[in-house]
C-alpha cells in the first residue's frame, strides 16, 4: 500500500511530566470543574433515588480528570461528540449545570427540552454534538464532523470521546481507518475505565487499546487518566497535531469508574476493595494536594470552591425542579425540519 503523504510519528510524544506554563488560575478552573462534576453526579444519583431523574443513569464519578483535562484543550470552534456517560463532558464544555439537570429532570428548560435524557445531551451553541447511547455508533459521525471541517477549510478539530467498551465494535475500526485514510482532524479520546458494563477489559479486547490505533498509523499515547494535568498536556499536543493538518491522533486515558455501570448495577463482577484501591489515586485529591503544596491555593480557597460548587449544584436542582413539564401538544415537534417546497 502507498505510504501516507504525511508521516505520523511512530513513537508518540510523551506528555509533559510537569505542568510547565499552567498557571494557578487554569489549575483552579480544573479543580473547580472536577468538583462541580463530582458533586453534580452525587446529587444526580440522589435525585435518581428520589425518582426525579429516570431512565438509565450512568455516573461519571472517578473519571472527572478525563473530561476536564481533555475538553479544556479544545477551542470554542472545535467539535465534541461523546458517549452516553456524558454529564461530565457537558459540564466541562461549559454547558450550564441547570440546563443539564433540567434535561435529566425531563423538563422544558433542559438541553433537549426533555426529549433526550441523561444519555443524549446536545448543545449546538457549544458545538456539543451529543451524548450517544449506542456503543461505538457516534464514532463514524465524528469522522464526518472532521471531514466537514476539512472540506470547508475551517479551523476546527473534532474530539470523539468513547469508552473501552466501544473498542470491540466494528464502528471503532471503520472510523479509525477512515480518519487515517482521509487525514481528518479527529482526536480519538478513549476513556478506559477497565470495564464495558461489567466485562473486564481483558475479556473484551485482544490487545492494548492504544496499540490498536497504532495499527491505523496514527500517533497514539496512553496517559494516566487520573492526572488532569497530564491529560490536558497530552490532549493539547493532540489537538495541535490535528489542527496543523496532520490527521487524527489517539489518546487512551486510564481511569476508574467508582460507581457501577449505571444505577441498576449491583457490581457483582468486582470487589469493593478494587474500587477502594482506585480511590487512592483520586484525581481531585491529587490536584488539590499539588495546589496546596505549591501554594497555588490555601485551605480556605479550597473550602470556598467546595461551597461554590455545592451552591451551584443546589441551584441547578432547584432550577430543574421548577422547570415545567413539556406540553403533550409538542410531542411531534422536530421529527422533521421544514424544507423548501415541502
Amino acid at each position: 500500500m502507498p505510504p501516507r503523504t504525511k508521516t505520523a510519528p511512530r513513537t508518540a510524544p510523551k506528555p509533559a511530566p510537569k505542568p510547565a506554563g499552567l498557571g494557578g488560575e487554569r489549575l483552579g478552573h480544573f479543580l473547580y470543574q472536577m468538583l462541580l462534576i463530582r458533586r453534580f453526579e452525587e446529587r444526580t444519583g440522589e435525585m435518581y433515588t428520589k425518582g426525579k431523574v429516570r431512565g438509565f443513569l450512568h455516573l461519571y464519578i472517578g473519571e472527572e480528570a478525563c473530561a476536564v483535562g481533555a475538553i479544556n484543550a479544545l477551542e470554542p470552534q472545535d467539535k465534541l461528540i461523546t458517549h452516553y456517560r456524558d454529564h461530565g463532558h457537558a459540564l466541562a464544555r461549559g454547558i450550564e449545570a441547570p440546563r443539564v439537570m433540567a434535561e435529566l429532570f425531563a423538563r422544558v428548560d433542559g438541553t433537549s427540552k426533555g426529549r433526550g435524557g441523561s444519555m443524549h445531551i446536545f448543545d449546538k451553541a457549544k458545538n456539543f454534538f451529543g451524548g450517544h447511547a449506542i456503543v461505538g455508533g457516534h464514532m463514524p459521525v465524528a469522522v464526518g464532523l472532521a471531514l466537514g471541517s476539512k472540506m470547508k477549510k475551517e479551523d476546527a478539530v473534532t474530539m470523539c470521546v468513547f469508552g473501552d467498551g466501544g473498542v470491540a465494535e466494528g464502528e471503532f475500526h471503520e472510523a479509525l481507518n477512515l480518519s487515517a485514510l482521509w487525514d481528518v482532524p479527529v482526536v480519538w479520546f478513549c476513556e478506559n475505565n477497565g470495564y464495558g458494563m461489567g466485562l473486564p477489559l481483558a475479556k473484551s479486547n485482544a490487545n492494548d487499546i492504544y496499540k490498536l490505533a497504532e495499527a491505523y498509523r496514527m500517533p497514539s499515547v496512553r496517559v494516566d487518566g487520573m492526572d488532569v494535568i497530564g491529560v490536558y498536556e497530552a490532549t493539547k499536543t493532540a489537538v495541535e497535531f490535528c489542527r496543523a493538518g496532520n490527521g487524527p491522533y489517539f489518546i487512551e486515558a486510564m481511569t476508574h469508574r467508582y460507581r457501577g455501570h449505571s444505577m441498576a448495577d449491583a457490581e457483582l463482577y468486582r470487589d469493593k476493595a478494587e474500587v477502594e484501591e482506585s480511590r487512592k489515586g483520586d484525581a481531585i485529591e491529587r490536584l488539590k494536594k499539588a495546589m496546596l503544596a505549591d501554594g497555588l491555593m490555601d485551605g480556605s480557597g479550597y473550602e470556598a470552591l467546595v461551597a461554590r460548587v455545592e451552591e451551584e449544584v443546589g441551584a441547578a436542582i432547584a432550577f430543574a425542579d421548577a422547570s415545567p413539564q413539556p406540553e403533550i401538544s409538542t410531542l411531534f415537534d422536530n421529527i422533521y425540519r421544514e424544507s423548501p417546497n415541502d
Binding site: 446536545f122 463514524p140 459521525v141 425540519r337 417546497n341
Partner: protein, 325 residues
C-alpha cells in the same frame, strides 16, 4: 424534454446539484474511478475531482456515519450505498443517528443527508442481494423515503432531495436503470415530496404501486382493458414517507376497489399499512376487501423460475382485480 435512461437522469440531477451548490458532494463505494456499480456517477470524478466524488472503502456504517457528520457540519452529502442489501450494515447510523438527531436535540441539529441505494430482485442474485426494503425504511419517523418509477421522476425527486433539510432515503429499482423516458430540460425541475402521481386514469379499480411495481400495475391495467374491458386507475406513490394518502383515497372513493402491488414481502410489508389506511379512511366506499399482490414470503431463490414465482407479476395483479369484481 430530452429522452434519457433513468441512470442518466439521476446523473444529471447529481451533476446539476453539484454545480448549483458547492456544499453538495458524493461518497460511496466505487462511485469514482469505477463509475458506480450501476454507472450512475460515471464521469463525475473527472468533472468534480476526488474531494467531491469520494471513493470510500467498503465500510457502510462508516461512510453513512461520515455522511451524517458532514451533514451536521453544514455540507450536503450524498452517500451511495451500492445496494439496499448492504444498507443493513449501516442500520445503526440510519435508524439511530440520521433519523433521530433532530428530535433528540430538540431541533438543534438537522441531518440533510441523501442516501441513495439500488433495490429489488429479478436478476438471479439470490437471497442476500434481492431485497426490497422501501417499506422498512418508511417505518422510521424522521426519515423520508423516495422511490421513483421513471427517469423524469428520478431526476425531479433527486434534485428535491438535495433541498430537503432531513435525511432522505432515495431508493432506485435496479431493473429501471436502463428504462428510457422523457425528462424536462428545465435545470430547476423538481418534484415535491409526498405527491403521488396518477400514472393512468380509470374508473373500476385503483391499483397502487411504487418503484418497479408501478410497471406491473400499468401492464396489468392494459391487460384488463384489452381483455376484460375493465378500467383501472394506477397510482404511483413516488414517496412512501411523506405518503400522499389523499390521492389514494380520492381514487378509491371513485373506483370503490383497491389493489396494492409491491415487491416486498407481504407479511408486515408496506402494503399492509396502505391497506389499513384505505380501510380506516374509505371503509364505506369499498365494495371489496383491499387486495395485496406482493413478493412471496421466502428468501429469494437463485433459480429463475423460482424467483419469478416469488415476485409479483402483472398476471397476479389481473387475477387479484378479477377476484374482486
Amino acid at each position: 424534454m430530452t429522452e434519457m435512461r433513468m441512470r442518466e437522469a439521476l446523473r444529471e440531477a447529481l451533476r446539476e446539484e453539484m454545480l448549483r451548490d458547492e456544499r453538495v458532494f458524493l461518497m460511496g463505494e466505487d462511485i469514482g474511478a469505477y463509475g458506480g456499480s450501476y454507472t450512475v456517477t460515471r464521469g463525475l470524478l473527472d468533472e468534480f475531482g476526488p474531494d467531491r466524488v469520494r471513493d470510500t472503502p467498503i465500510s457502510e456504517s462508516g461512510i453513512v456515519g461520515a455522511g451524517i457528520g458532514a451533514a451536521l457540519s453544514g455540507l450536503r452529502p450524498m452517500v451511495e450505498i451500492m445496494t439496499i442489501n448492504f444498507s443493513l450494515l449501516a442500520m445503526d447510523q440510519i435508524v439511530n443517528n440520521a433519523s433521530k438527531f433532530l428530535y433528540m436535540s430538540a431541533g438543534q441539529f438537522n441531518v440533510p443527508l441523501v442516501l441513495r441505494m439500488a433495490s429489488g430482485g429479478g436478476s438471479q442474485l439470490g437471497a442476500t442481494h434481492s431485497h426490497s426494503f422501501e417499506g422498512m425504511y418508511a417505518h422510521f419517523p424522521g426519515l423520508k423515503v423516495v422511490c421513483p418509477s421513471n427517469p423524469a421522476d428520478a431526476k425531479g425527486l433527486l434534485k428535491q432531495a438535495f433541498r430537503d433539510e432531513n435525511p432522505v432515503i432515495f431508493i432506485e429499482h435496479s431493473a429501471l436503470y436502463s428504462m428510457k423516458g422523457e425528462v424536462p430540460d428545465d435545470p430547476d425541475f423538481r418534484i415535491s415530496f409526498g405527491k403521488a402521481r396518477i400514472a393512468r386514469e380509470g374508473t373500476d379499480v385503483t391499483i397502487v404501486g411504487y418503484s418497479g411495481s408501478v410497471h406491473q400495475a400499468l401492464r396489468a391495467a392494459t391487460m384488463l382493458e384489452e381483455q376484460e374491458q375493465i378500467s383501472a386507475e394506477v397510482i404511483d406513490l413516488r414517496c412512501l414517507r411523506p405518503l400522499d394518502m389523499e390521492t389514494v383515497i380520492a381514487s378509491v372513493k371513485k373506483t370503490n376497489r383497491a389493489v396494492i402491488v409491491e415487491d416486498d414481502w407481504k407479511f408486515g410489508g408496506f402494503g399492509g399499512e396502505l391497506s389499513a389506511q384505505i380501510m380506516e379512511k374509505a371503509f364505506d366506499w369499498l365494495d371489496a376487501p383491499v387486495a395485496r399482490v406482493s413478493g412471496k414470503d421466502v428468501p429469494m431463490p437463485y433459480n429463475r423460475n423460482l424467483e419469478f414465482a416469488a415476485l409479483p407479476s402483472e398476471e397476479d395483479v389481473v387475477e387479484a382485480v378479477l377476484a374482486m369484481l
